[in-house]
Amino acid sequence: MTQSENSQRPVEPAASGSWKRFWPKSVRGRLGISLILFWVLAALLAPLIAPYPPNAQDMDALSNLGPSAAHWLGTDLLGRDILSRILWGARTTLLVVPIATASAFAAGTAIGLASGYFGGLVDRVISGISDIILSFPTLVLYIVLIASIGPSIINIVIAITLASAPSIGRIVRGLTLELRSRGYVAAAEMRGESVLFLLFLEILPNARGPLLADLSMRAGLAVVTVGTLGFLGLGLPPPDPDWGSMVAENVTMIPVYPYMALFPGLAMCSLVIGFSMLADGLEEE
């Protein structure tokens, strides 16, 4: 059988394999990732660019707490430089958030794939447990968990994982249910592939689009969670700076010195917005 060369030309040119592939195509996505990269750089370079050590007290500044040439964003009641504390605080947030999000995703993906693929009893048990966890108000869940196992980075990660894995699992379960009926999954079953192969090499890669958007969204939520825990005193032990506890320390001063709580709040806000813009951008693609 002959076939002309012409009919074999692929319909589309191959995608370029460079890193540019990962750079978001939408403006929103680009803005989002720029905001995130800004904070990542700030956290990485904090020891170099922060004008003061985070816990150093400047007794001279106590007479004039507000922003000045020496302290661009002012100092807190103890005379600590707010700009330096925000830069150092970014380190805490940007250490906890990726670890917590990754761990929540690993757990959520595993349970979602299992319940979507196997269905039946496996699905009912997993969904049942998920529903129980989801029925708790998240904040109560965090407080109970951290209060009982003590505040530390590991425990915050565990708490975030436990609280968000069920809802990630639900998304993955839905995607799996849809993808498992595809021809390529059936073909893999017909050649006797193992379950793990099917789940992680045939199904999961095709769910990555919606999952990446969700990942970014949840990273934003994790920033809020870390902030909330810090605010409630369930974050890292003092005196190390963390945005949430900075707001908490200065919350009583809001009527007199609003900037003390405002600046760390703004920092948190911009990072959350960065993550949600990236999520929106990824969803558009």
Binding site: N6, S7, P13, Y184, E189, R191, G192, N206
Partner: protein, 661 residues
């Protein structure tokens, strides 16, 4: 008199891509015009222009005049006054066009919202229209919700809705795709019938040349946005002049003895040059005359052809005839199916029988065609053999192992190797994340005997690509870069990599364009010759099944009604159901009552076909299951009436039609 719809030099761009080029045609009052084209030909874009529903990025040039109004420059108010009232629209998927939360009656009344008919009389109007589209009891239909009626009935409702405001033009966009052949025949019948009653003009858009030529006075053939030929309906099959139309007719199953696929693919908008767009696939292409823009040639009245070398194109020679009759294959069976039964719990205490005591042999290296309407259980049978479903009872023996209740996950490698499958949807048959080479390599590693080195797997993957006539270079590409036909070829290569005894092909070409479909069918026949693999070819397309199969099984509600060689079943369809199916395909005789086609109930004790049968002999058909009767060597029918008597009955009814005609 000016035509009702006149399209002049219409060009349509999506961004920078030209999807329609210098298109001109007109539809007179009371006339029906059909537009045929494969996917990517721009036919739906034209429909969108006519109803004024273009995507935001679309830009149109030229003129589309409807009764003197230019639709391209008309104001939204003018368009609103036309749409739905003077231009009716019947869409592709009736299930999606009807609002599931509203009763049929209310939805139909909405179509009269703007009419002059007094509100009190409207219900009566709706009821009358429903009875004209073939509902015996309009009141009952009006009280129902869309999900409570069948697909064919939904499409009738849509047609009624389009006709209610008494439009001058009705646009039908693939109105019968997704419907069974018998239902399709009834809908087409209805459309042409209504046209004579109402004098409505029709613009009928479809990929199916047969249907269009049956329902229309004139037919336009679209190729990549060019109207390549426009001719009276009869001439399209008799004397097509454009090389593309000729190619299209040649690759229609049932039209010629051997399918002749058109090589190559439809050029994507970015590949289109200024000259003839068919050039890349045309045997008569000469760059001197074809690569520049040229005008369409008008032959005799209303036959226009857009071809630069028309003078040199030989007249179409019909190679009509029946496919070659293969010698009766008496090879030993490789799959023996006995008393196979699959039931699902249905509403109430009743069981739905998807497969009803099937006895069937699949012989070595034969192509066994399995035809039936949707819901006939043909896919269930394939799923059980493949192991994606398990039988309720009965056996499927392959090489001495019963696989009827052995799901695919529990099958050993040796068993998996023997049965492989090609799936229906070319878009989801290959994993978009992996390259073609990876997919094939994986299949080879898992299904080949013995341990293979990385190098030999790679060379085997190349070899498999060659087997299905693809270039080895495609191995490094992802499925996204392949056309539907190419993907389906890769899927066939993947299934054949373990040299299976049996290949299950469940509607594996139904999503492809006819020209590509013909090429895949040719490939399957060729592979069967070379590899000796038996193929169970499942399809709803009767002509196609005849083209490819050695033997044919006609299924109805889970039960084979007629089994025989392709020539036996098609030249002498004995069973009343086969007869009805075949007549629906040709439109010759109507042995079944179209109203009875809808929503059959499960027969309790008797023949499953009894409710739709035109040849019921009496009480016995309702109460007693018939047995299989032998009608010739290897030819069996499931009917109470003896074969000789059936032949007599058929002769009589043909004579009746002749007299009536």
């Amino acid at each position: 008199m000016t035509p009702l719809l006149q399209i002049d030099n219409l060009s349509l761009f999506y961004g920078t891509d030209q999807v329609v080029r210098d298109l001109s045609f007109s539809i007179g009052r009371g006339e029906s015009f059909g537009l045929v084209g494969e996917s990517g030909s721009g036919k739906s874009s034209i429909a969108n222009v006519v109803i004024g529903d273009m995507p935001k990025i679309a830009r149109a040039r030229g003129s589309v005049r409807y009764d003197g109004v230019d639709l391209l420059s008309a104001s939204p108010e003018q368009l609103r006054a036309l749409r739905g009232r003077r231009i009716g629209f019947v869409q592709q998927d009736p299930g999606a066009s009807l609002n599931p939360t509203m009763r049929i009656g209310r939805q139909l009344l909405e179509a009269l919202e703007q009419s002059d008919i007094p509100v009190r009389a409207r219900s009566e109007n709706v009821a009358e229209m429903l009875s004209r589209v073939g509902f015996d009891n309009p009141g009952a239909i009006m009280a129902r919700y869309p999900h409570q009626i069948s697909g064919g009935q939904q499409q009738r409702v849509m047609i009624a809705m389009a006709l209610l405001p008494k439009p001058d033009l009705v646009l039908l966009d693939e109105p019968t795709s997704g419907l069974d052949v018998t239902v399709e025949a009834a809908v087409i019948e209805l459309i042409s019938d209504l046209r004579t009653q109402f004098g409505t003009s029709l613009l009928f858009i479809s990929h199916n040349l047969h249907l269009v030529s049956k329902a229309c006075d004139r037919v336009g053939v679209l190729y990549a946005g060019d109207l390549v030929e426009e001719a009276p309906a009869g001439l399209i099959f008799e004397a097509p002049r454009h090389p593309y139309t000729q190619g299209l007719v040649r690759c229609l199953p049932g039209q010629s003895a051997v399918l002749q696929p058109i090589r190559g693919h439809v050029p994507s908008p970015s590949e289109r040059g200024p000259g003839c767009l068919f050039a890349s696939r045309c045997a008569y292409h000469s760059s001197a005359s074809c690569d520049q823009p040229f005008d369409a040639t008008t032959m005799e009245a209303s036959h226009r052809v857009h071809c630069a070398r028309l003078g040199e194109i030989p007249a179409f020679e019909s190679v009509a005839g029946v496919p070659e009759v293969a010698a009766l294959n008496d090879a030993p069976p490789i799959v023996t199916i006995r008393k196979l039964r699959k039931s699902y719990p249905a509403s109430g205490r009743e069981l739905f029988l998807a497969n009803d005591d099937i006895d069937l042999d699949i012989r070595q290296s034969e192509i066994l065609g399995l035809v039936g309407e949707s819901g006939s259980g043909k896919s269930t049978l394939a799923k059980i053999i493949a192991g994606f479903d398990v039988a309720t009872s009965g056996s499927v023996l392959i090489g001495g192992t019963d696989i009827a209740r052995l799901p695919v996950r529990r099958r050993k490698r040796g068993l998996l190797r023997q049965v492989q499958m090609v799936f229906q949807n070319p878009d989801s048959t290959l994993n978009p994340t992996h390259t073609i080479g990876w997919t094939l390599g994986r299949a080879i590693r898992k299904l080949e005997t013995g341990h293979l080195s990385r190098q030999s797997i790679r060379s085997r993957a190349r070899e498999m690509l060659g087997l299905v006539a693809l270039l080895p270079g495609l191995a490094s590409r992802k499925p996204k870069a392949l056309s539907g036909g190419q993907r389906q070829r890769v899927a066939i290569a993947r299934a054949l990599s373990g040299k299976p005894q049996l290949l299950l092909a469940d509607e594996c070409v139904s999503a492809l364009d006819v020209s590509v479909q013909a090429a895949i069918v040719e490939l399957l026949q060729d592979l069967r010759q070379r590899t000796g693999t038996a193929i169970l070819f499942i399809s709803h397309d009767l002509a196609l099944v005849r083209q490819i199969s050695d033997r044919i099984v006609v299924m109805f509600r889970g039960k084979p009604m007629e089994i025989g060689s392709a020539s036996q079943v098609y030249s002498l369809p004995l069973h009343p159901y086969t007869e009805a199916l075949l007549s629906a395909g040709t439109g010759k005789a109507e042995v079944i009552n179209p109203a009875a086609v809808e929503r059959p109930k499960q027969a309790s004790g008797g023949c499953p076909f009894v409710e739709r049968c035109g040849r019921v002999v009496g009480e016995i058909c309702w109460t007693q299951k018939p047995g299989y009767q032998n009608a010739g060597p290897g030819h069996e029918i499931y009917c109470h009436i003896p074969p000789a008597e059936l032949i007599e009955l058929q002769k009589a009814s043909h004579a009746g039609i002749l007299i009536a005609g």
